[in-house]
């Protein structure tokens, strides 16, 4: 398809505004799972508190329960039993809360991932063709796979972890403050150092991570290109050169991946040991304070404080280890939102397509298929309704078009196709033949001029109805994963098996389909990879035939079919299209010769038009092309 390979979303660059992306992501999750999240927050709170009760029990176990028993002659296990029972209850609540919030988070995570995919997909269906021209398919795919995957880790693990840690940090911090302000300051300083180092390594590692993503993209791109061209590589004995180039890219990836992973790996140990050092420093400072008696810190309090110091460092370490997955998730979320924000295909049409039957010389809307169609034109001014019979009258009036505003590919195209005519376009690749047909069905919108369909400006027709009225067999054949029957039925979802077979017969596809292992139920995969190019085209024609459209556009629909088969297909199509308008693009003479009007295109302009005989008589471009000796002489 002509059209510039435009901007690609760059991978491996820094995120513009992580805060904004994070907020939006939270909003997105909360939209469907707000209540879930609120419950999760409460449950995390409960579980943290229950755990704190447990920790406190262990701290007091010896002093409050065991020590008194040691001094009494008749040890009373009653208080201990009571305490154990109480703590068991707390534990039970904690376990239940932890299980519940994890269980709920599965729904939140998987549900959000499903929603992200569904939203991406349904939004993608509404994007204009231009979007697909300007974005590489690999990039679009990677939004569904890699970017969505980064969210999984983030929502299911990072989010609860961060929240859990935050609550722990706050509660421990308050306890520390109560015990000793100077020691809290010491602990805080050490935490600062920890955060500083984490930030530094995390910053560095996210740089290498982004570099790694970039190198990975390069390696993937090279692999994709070479795997696609592997047969050419073989034919040219280019294997060694290929290996050399691959090794270079592969080594780059190894180096950046090595560094990125190294930095991630060391964040944990570094923080853990800094935590240990923090512990020692507190012990020494606290010891000095307690022994000198300046701050009124008792030794017992110092012991408790040291325990808190330990439980303060742990969550900080846990959070810092989530840092990278958060950075990656933010980059992924940004690309996901970018795609969701892409402008949809605009459709301001209000004229719709309906089935009609004639009653007393007037067209009346019919709920059933009647073989006749009409445009239901509801006038905006007075809401009166007109029915205009669909005939397939297509007029281009002074149409200018370019895929970009600065480069026109069609200039001042004037064209009229009368109902029932077969109109052919001939001309070189890139002359604008396919472009013209893409304008009729509004894959693209024109810059200047008017296109009228049965006298109605195509801009006023609802796109879906416009396209429903046009059957198109495209230049590039695409089939879908599914049975042969499903693929033909794609043209008319409620078609009966008989209709499917009839369409296949019309396209002369019935013969080869019956020879397939499971006939009509043979499953096609990978865009019909197990069929030949010609067989795929025959199926595409059958698919268009079953739709039984009022107007048909055939864009090089028979280019890979041999001439003998083509003639049979052609006869069938001619029968089908009798009385209906057909647009044909072909470079084979036999395909276009019997057209009612042949348009010769050159560089986006129609330079000649007329029947085969008229054009031959003109001895112009068509004549030159036809005789095939013009330029050579």
């Amino acid at each position: 398809m002509p059209g510039p390979m435009g901007r690609r979303m760059p991978r491996g660059r820094r995120i513009e505004n992580p805060g904004k992306v994070f907020k939006r992501l939270m909003k997105y999750v909360a939209k469907n799972y707000g209540v879930h999240l609120a419950i999760v927050v409460v449950l995390i709170f409960v579980s943290v508190l229950a755990n704190v009760q447990g920790t406190m029990f262990i701290q007091r176990l010896i002093d409050d329960y065991i020590a008194p028993m040691l001094v009494s002659d008749v040890p009373d296990f009653g208080p201990l039993a009571g305490a154990i029972f109480r703590v068991a209850c707390f534990y039970a609540i904690g376990v239940a809360a932890a299980y519940l919030y994890n269980r709920i988070m599965i729904n939140v995570t998987q549900g959000t991932l499903r929603n992200v995919r569904d939203d991406l997909f349904s939004h993608m269906q509404t994007l204009p063709i231009k979007y697909f021209d300007t974005h590489s398919h690999g990039d679009i795919m990677s939004t569904y796979t890699n970017d969505t995957d980064t969210l999984r880790q983030m929502i299911s693990q990072s989010m609860p972890q961060v929240f859990n840690s935050a609550i722990t940090i706050v509660s421990v911090f308050i306890s520390m403050l109560v015990l000793s302000i100077p020691l809290t300051v010491v602990t805080l300083i050490m935490v600062m150092v920890m955060l500083l180092i984490t930030r530094k390594t995390a910053g560095l590692s996210s740089r290498y991570f982004l570099q790694q993503q970039h190198d990975l993209g390069q390696v993937n791109g090279f692999i994709e290109e070479m795997m696609n061209g592997q047969k050419v590589v073989k034919v040219f004995c280019h294997e060694e050169e290929n290996i050399r180039q691959f090794n270079e890219l592969n080594d780059n990836l190894y180096h950046s991946a090595d560094k990125a992973n190294y930095l991630v790996n060391i964040v944990g140990p570094v923080n853990a040991q800094l935590g240990n050092i923090s512990y020692v420093v507190c012990a020494i400072v606290g010891g000095v304070l307690a022994l000198s008696g300046i701050s009124g810190l008792t030794l017992g309090e110092l012991a408790s404080f040291l325990t808190f110091n330990k439980s303060f460092n742990m969550p900080i370490n846990q959070v810092s280890q989530q840092f990278n997955s958060i950075v990656m998730a933010m980059a992924g979320a940004e690309r996901i939102f970018q795609m969701m924000d892409e402008a949809q295909e605009a459709d301001n049409g209000y004229v719709t397509l309906v089935h009609v039957r004639e009653e007393n010389g007037k067209l009346v809307e019919s709920p059933k298929r009647t073989g006749r169609w009409a445009w239901r034109h509801e006038h905006q001014a007075d809401h009166s309704v007109d029915y205009v019979e669909l005939k397939g009258d297509v007029v281009f009036d002074g149409v200018d078009f370019g895929y970009n505003d600065d480069k026109m590919v069609l200039h001042d195209v004037k064209l009229y196709a009368e109902p029932g005519q077969k109109i052919a376009f001939v001309g070189s690749t890139g002359a604008g033949k396919t472009t013209i047909t893409n304008l009729i069905n509004r894959f693209y919108d024109i810059q200047d001029g008017k296109i009228r369909y049965d006298g109605i400006n195509v801009n006023k027709i609802k796109k879906a109805d416009l396209r429903r009225s046009l059957g198109i067999v495209l230049q590039d054949t695409h089939l879908f994963t599914g049975t042969v029957r499903d693929n033909i039925r794609y043209g008319k979802l409620d078609a009966t098996d008989e209709e499917v077979i009839a369409a296949a017969k019309l396209a002369n596809a019935d013969g080869f389909i019956r020879l397939l292992p499971q006939g009509y139920d043979t499953v096609l995969t990978g865009d019909g990879a197990n069929l030949s190019q010609g067989q795929r085209q025959l199926l595409a024609i059958a698919r268009a035939a079953i739709a039984d459209p009022p107007v048909l556009i055939l864009d090089e629909a028979t280019s890979s079919i041999d001439t003998r088969t083509e003639r049979i297909v052609q006869d069938g199509m001619d029968k089908l299209m009798k009385g209906r308008t057909t647009f044909v693009i072909a470079h084979r003479l036999s395909t276009v010769r019997n057209s009612d009007c042949i348009m010769v295109l050159e560089q986006g302009r129609i330079i000649e038009r007329g029947t085969h005989e008229q054009l031959l008589e003109e001895k112009g471009k068509y004549y030159q092309l036809y005789t095939g000796n013009a330029i050579a002489t």
Binding site: I58, V95, G287, A529
Partner: protein, 583 residues
């Protein structure tokens, strides 16, 4: 499978061994530090012994630094070993793919190969790092803690042993169930992604048939299916958590209760009870970790299988023991050739082919879709081996030649041809990497590619996008022909290579061939009669057999298929294309 993969660890054996060593060291320091911590409190703070705090604190800092060092080294070597292993895997696969024959390539889909080289390798890399860093660390840490516990009090420690065994059994069943669902989920997930891929590339069909809503509802159904199955899997995984917490807490309470009794009976000291409780968490956390490793490993097994499939695939075409490097001339002969893609004669696509082509002859090949024209010529440069019979070039069986020499001398311009990202010159030099710009210009003149290249702003240095998307079909075909000509081959095969080139240019290219490379044997497959009618002789293929072989006139006279094709296309130009649009 493991053996195949392990062979690729290669130069990273040292790192692969050092990683667990350092991880174990880290564990040892990790186990020792709580001792020192306890000692600071018990003997230092509580006793008011500042001296003790200094000494033990100093010792602890040393330990911490050593722990830090081992942690950092473990991280460093772990990263290096796993990323290096991944690099080697990619390289080995890529190199092996380069040796694949066409039939090997047919076996794997392009997308399949790409996934194996990318996603699957990444999965293995992650799993390998996990194994190196945790596989030894977790069990050893657990054993250390267990040993310590038994050392303190065997009776109490046996509670742990029972707990660990019970927990291990429960975890095993939970994970097994989860794995069952995960294994069901991953292929579905791949399918979902494949359907997105399909939708993206067929978006015009979707829009032309107004099937957006249909596709969306199809997708939503699939995505809901994945949601359901992942939910089932994760539900089992998440059960690990309460089971494990329940065990930990039961242990703590049991030990507190029994421990208190033992203390009262003066069998156990208070400090010992505290240590026992500290180890509780350690033991069970590590067990949890081991179960996680288990999950990760079994998830990556599918990837490992797919990677080793590529590594184990052997090219089914091998060079002869004493290969002949020189091809004397472009004579071609087919002797009783049968050929089937699957090596069994029932599904043969070529039947009993006998042909003799003289050096320097121009041969046209014509026939309907699926008549095996391409299969016929693919045998000449030994892209596939015959099932029976023999194909000879220059008087020798192609299986006697060195494959590289053969393919250098027998140039094929494939039907599905590809240009690569790079300049036009880069692309041309695939034919001969040492070709001068002069030579490149010459072959472009022959292939009539010079006219459009000269008009490009950067001429021969124009950058071709991946897949050649910025040149038209006809231009691409001419560049591909020029690229093949640069090899100066003895046999040149054009497989429908001028279908997008207009008739006049097509004729001009053929005239240039006749004048400039008269000694090269030329085989031209075409749909158009005009492309072959001037050939010395024409082969008419029908359903895998030679239906006719002779000059244009002879065939018109006595070959029905040829006559029919000829008449349907009439004399003169059968096509309109290319030429008109180019200035």
């Amino acid at each position: 499978m493991i053996k195949t993969l392990a062979a690729q660890i290669g130069e990273f054996k040292k790192e692969s061994i050092l990683t667990p060593v350092f991880m174990i060291l880290e564990v040892i320091f990790e186990t020792l530090i709580p001792f020192l911590m306890a000692s600071i409190i018990d003997d230092g703070v509580e006793a008011g012994n500042m001296q003790h705090i200094y000494i033990v604190g100093g010792l602890m800092i040393v330990m911490a630094l050593l722990g830090l060092y081992s942690g950092i080294m473990g991280g460093k070597y772990g990263a290096r070993a796993s990323t290096g292993f991944a690099r080697n895997l990619r390289r080995a696969m890529f190199e092996n793919i380069q040796t694949f024959s066409f039939s090997n390539l047919d076996k794997f889909s392009t997308a399949g190969l790409v996934t194996r080289l990318t996603t699957d390798v990444t999965n293995i890399q992650m799993a390998y790092q996990m194994i190196l860093r945790m596989c030894f660390r977790a069990p050893i840490s657990m054993i250390c803690a267990m040993a310590m516990a038994f050392f303190i009090n065997a009776e109490l420690a046996s509670i742990y042993l029972i707990a660990v065994i019970l927990l291990a059994i429960v975890l095993f069943f939970l994970i097994k169930r989860a794995m069952k669902y995960f294994q069901m989920a991953f292929p579905k997930y791949d399918e979902l992604n494949a359907s997105v891929q399909e939708n993206v590339s067929a978006i015009r069909v979707v829009k032309a048939y107004v099937r957006e809503d249909y596709e969306t509802s199809k997708f939503k159904k699939a995505s809901q299916g994945i949601y359901d199955i992942f939910l089932k899997a994760e539900k089992n995984v998440v059960l690990n958590m309460p089971v494990m917490q329940f065990t930990v807490y039961s242990c703590i309470l049991l030990i507190s209760w029994i421990g208190a009794r033992l203390i009262v009976q003066d069998v156990l000291k208070t400090g010992e009870l505290m240590s026992l409780l500290a180890y509780c968490m350690n033991i069970l956390m590590n067990l949890m970790m081991i179960s996680m490793i288990f999950v990760m490993m079994s998830m990556s097994i599918a990837s490992a299988k797919r990677v080793s499939e590529v590594l184990c695939e052997k090219s089914d075409l091998v060079n002869p023991k004493e290969p002949v490097h020189e091809i004397p001339d472009g004579r071609i002969e087919f002797k009783n050739v049968d050929f089937s893609y699957y090596g069994d004669n029932d599904k043969a696509v070529l039947h009993d082919i006998n042909l003799k082509i003289k050096a320097g002859e121009t041969i046209g090949i014509i026939g309907g879709t699926g008549s095996a024209k391409t299969s016929l010529v693919n045998l000449i440069s030994r892209l596939y081996d015959v099932t029976s019979g023999s194909v000879m070039v220059g008087g020798r069986d192609v299986r006697e030649y060195d494959m590289e020499s053969l393919r250098d001398q027998v140039a094929v311009v494939l039907q599905k041809n590809v240009l690569f990202s790079g300049t036009i010159l880069d692309n041309l030099r695939w034919g001969d990497e040492n070709a001068t710009e002069e030579e490149c210009r010459r072959v472009c003149r022959l292939a009539c590619a010079d006219e459009f290249i000269d008009k490009m702003p950067d001429g021969y240095n124009t950058y071709i996008e991946q897949g050649g998307t910025n040149v038209s079909g006809g231009q691409k075909q001419r560049l591909c022909i020029a690229r093949a000509l640069l090899k100066k081959p003895k046999v040149l095969i054009l497989d429908d290579s001028t279908s997008a080139v207009d008739t006049a240019t097509d004729a001009k290219i053929r005239r240039a061939f006749a004048q400039e490379i008269p000694d090269t044997t030329k085989l031209i497959i075409a749909q158009r009669v005009s492309s072959v009618e001037n050939a010395d002789r024409i082969i008419v293929m029908d359903d895998g057999r030679i239906n006719g072989f002779g000059t244009h006139e002879e065939l018109l006279e006595n070959n029905e298929i040829y006559r029919e094709v000829y008449e349907s296309q009439t004399s003169g130009g059968g096509d309109f294309d290319e030429k008109a649009g180019e200035e």
